[in-house]
């Protein structure tokens, strides 16, 4: 069995002494889409932020994180990003005062970082081909874009960094249903090309269509994990998130 | 409660010892002079302490309040012929309040660092005025300040030299420390800390951070001015060099060296700095480098001040005490 792209062991995150997340193990294989679901405040964002070594706050993080077998939990955020561990965060994903063109650029040259097989580095043109709306608005500033367009911008830039593992935190927030379908469909496409994806979503219904495996986080702990096809019928998920009436 | 009575007794003992300290350390003129200056600069520093430690903002204008106190006293006492030092003290406080009011109102809705820069500019302009304006004595300064005279009807309270000045300096220091302690326990003090640590919560609790800043500023200015008031009498001479950067750096070090919001922090810090300068000096410029370096080093490497060094020791003591207090019964329960 080939080694997973992302391997997390013993992840513990605390904010000001309060334990926010306690995860024993989680892994994502190449071409796999793993969905992380759970209620607000369950610890989903904390999870992906900690993997990226990033946060808008000041958490204390202990973890063993490996990318393609290489331990990088001691690395600062920008180094992890350059190694192919890319996060599209929740909230602000684009630079409002910079144009779309400027937003779609990397701080480094992924090819120069010794990107090996499995890291498809998107060029700006490829991103525009993927999201034609962005091309139309290429000279507009970030803050002039709609929420969905900014989300596309964030994903587009992430792809330009040649990710080995792509993590997305609630990419569907504020998006119209068609947009959500388009974004998630694009992710499925990328996964088929070999990209490993860790997707945090509140919109479980939409996520379930796209993910291979589902992980349910509740109050900072993993309570359920399994194939999406099986989990979809799990009463715990159905009860909590898909609404009281399920057919 | 027993503990607070113990604390009060402890403080009282400390106060008595501090008062007797110059005598116990030889009683020479040099020692008394150092003691008086420590008291004066500590008083000035407490004004800044309230702004930096409680309000969490940097005011660089407190040297101006200190100078205002000194200049008002000089003008009233030497040019104005006002004999009673009570009146000059009132004058110093009044002028400081007016200045602080103007600065405070102007900077009411400005961001913190703009506030700091404005106070910096006030200090620089103050320097220019003090050095050039003939009313303030220009570059020669104001001389001929009479001795401190706090006499009341029937009671002569005069101080002609540092030894005689010491009880009054000590009394002023005690009064200021008491004032700061009361402030910290007051509603305004609590409001200041809240608007510093959590402005959003403060606004939701009905506190207007801008108004709180103004009020604390108005409280702090006369404190520093009182230091200036006494300085004028101690030196018998006031000139523009009372606005030198040295005083600002000294006051800032006094506020951060021991730790934020430590009641006795400023006076201990000033004592340390002045002791080094007066008795272990390495030359004016090197002393300057040492002082500046200490200020930077404390903030960079020991942000909670020297007091934070004492905390691990205290923790060790309590841990040992707890270990000794563990009874066999308790250990049995834990191994279940």
């Amino acid at each position: 069995m080939s080694q997973p792209v992302l391997d997390i062991r013993r992840l513990r995150v605390s904010y000001a002494g309060n334990r926010a997340l306690d995860l024993d193990a989680l892994s994502v294989a190449a071409g796999e889409v793993v969905g992380v679901v759970g209620a607000n405040g369950a610890g989903k964002s904390t999870l992906v932020n900690a993997v990226a070594g990033w946060s808008r706050g000041t958490p204390s993080v202990e973890a063993q994180i490996s990318l393609d077998g290489r331990r990088l939990d001691a690395w600062p955020t920008h180094q992890r990003v350059r190694a192919g561990l890319v996060l599209v965060p929740e909230g602000r994903v684009a630079f409002g005062r910079m144009s779309v063109d400027d937003n779609l650029c990397t701080a480094f040259t992924p090819a120069a970082q010794g990107a090996d097989e499995g890291r498809h580095i998107y060029s700006r043109d490829e991103v525009y081909a993927l999201f034609p709306r962005l091309h139309e608005r290429r000279h507009h500033l970030g803050h002039q874009l709609s929420g969905g367009e900014r989300q596309m911008l964030g994903i587009g830039r992430a792809l330009m960094m040649g990710p080995r593992l792509l993590m997305l935190d609630e990419p569907s927030i504020g998006l119209a249903p068609q947009m959500v379908e388009q974004v998630l469909g694009t992710l499925k496409l990328l996964a088929r090309k070999g990209l490993a994806i860790l997707l945090v979503e509140q919109n479980v219904r939409a996520a379930i269509e796209v993910v291979d495996r589902l992980v349910l986080i509740e109050r900072g702990r993993k309570v359920l994990e399994g194939a999406a096809s099986e989990m979809g019928n799990d009463p715990r998920i159905a009860e909590a998130y898909l609404g009281a009436s399920t057919t | 409660m027993a503990r607070s009575n113990m604390q009060m007794a402890g403080y009282a003992l400390l106060a008595v010892l501090a008062f007797l300290a110059p005598q116990l350390l030889g009683g020479s003129g040099v020692v008394y002079s150092a003691a008086v200056l420590i008291a004066i600069f500590a008083v000035a520093s407490y004004g800044l302490d309230v702004i930096v430690s409680d309000l969490g903002e940097v005011s660089l204008a407190h040297t101006v309040f200190f100078a205002a106190g000194a200049y008002t006293t000089a003008l009233m006492a030497s040019r104005g012929g006002v004999g009673s030092s009570w009146l000059t003290l009132l004058g110093a406080i009044a002028v400081a309040l007016v200045l602080a009011g103007v600065i405070g109102l102007v900077t009411l809705r400005l961001r913190e660092f703009v506030f700091s820069l404005v106070t910096y500019a006030v200090a620089v302009v103050g320097m220019t005025l003090a050095a050039n304006w003939s009313f303030l004595g220009g570059s020669d300064g104001l001389r001929g300040i009479p001795t401190l005279d706090l006499s009341l009807p029937g009671l002569t309270l005069v101080a002609g030299n540092d030894r005689a000045l010491w009880p009054y300096a000590f009394a002023l220091l005690l009064a200021v420390i008491y004032l700061v302690a009361r402030f910290r326990r007051s509603a305004l003090g609590a409001a200041a800390v809240m608007s510093h640590l959590n402005p959003r919560l403060a606004t939701m609790s009905g506190i207007d951070p801008a108004r709180v800043r103004l009020q604390v500023f108005l409280l702090s200015a006369p404190i520093s001015a009182a230091g200036g008031w006494l300085y004028a009498y101690q030196r018998a001479f006031v000139s523009a060099d009372v606005l030198e950067n040295y005083f600002l750096i000294l006051m800032l070090t006094a506020v951060v060296l021991v730790g934020r919001r430590q009641l006795l922090g400023p006076v201990v810090a000033v004592a340390l700095v002045l002791t080094q300068e007066k008795f272990f000096s390495l030359g004016g410029d090197i002393d300057k480098i040492i002082l500046g370096a200490v200020l930077v080093a404390v903030l960079a490497f020991l942000p909670a001040g020297l007091a934070s060094l004492a905390r691990p020791l205290a923790r060790l003591r309590t841990a040992r005490a707890a270990a000794n207090a563990t009874s066999p019964l308790n250990t049995l329960e834990h191994t279940k």
Binding site: M98 | A121, N245
Partner: protein, 290 residues
Amino acid sequence: MTILQQIINGLVLGHAYALVAIGWTLLLGVARLVNFGHGQMYMLGAFVTWWAVVKAGVPYALALPMAMAVGALVGVFMQRVMLKATFEQNLVSIMIMTLGFGYVLHGVASIVFGSTGQILETALSRRDIELGELWLTWQDAAIVVAAVVVFVGLRWLLDGSRIGRLVRMVAEDPKLAMLTGVNVRRVYYGVFAFEGAAVAFAAGMVAPRTPILTSMGFEEVIMTFVVVVLGGIGSVTGSYVAGVALGLFTALFSALVSPAYTTAAVFLVLIAVLVLRPGGLSARVAAGAH
């Protein structure tokens, strides 16, 4: 002196102010750092240039890069010491630390360079350009040219180059920039080095105009502060315009009213602006480099 002469003086002075302020503008706009040691770093730049030219016999054209190198090193050293506070955005600590640094620089300069005033003369400052009744020194002209070159160059760098893009990212949202693979720490070092080099360069260029003292620097901070606030925090173009305007105001006030109280007058103008328009004269108030 005619008004026209004063206007020429003012333009030269204005370009000098803009040049002195540019490092501070970038530091504040990109890293949100207030450097109260700016005045002493200016003083150091002036004295290193003076020492190199007058005491060490180095040609002026070489003395300037020397001063810039010293300035950049001081900047990097300061940032290294203040790194934790920078990342925590602990502005109170940063402001006080930069004040402390300034004080230390003053002490060091007093020991190394002495406390007497010195005059830095260069080949350019000794020769005048005469335009009829008006005159200015070649040094003055050089100041104007240097300021324009630096400002245009910086704008071009910020808008058009890759490094400029990174700097703008960090200026707007340092955390998000980290996720784009930017080494934010290195950018902060770079910006502080730029501040050190820029203020030293400005000092080396402007110092020949007046005698220099190791106790100087305070008024430079005020002027810089006023330029930055009037021009809009982080705005490169704004700083240029505000600098020139301030220079004209200072020259005219000094000639027509009183030279000693010029700083006080500038201060009053600043207060008036702050009271009437708390965001400064620039419509956009948000931090960021632009």
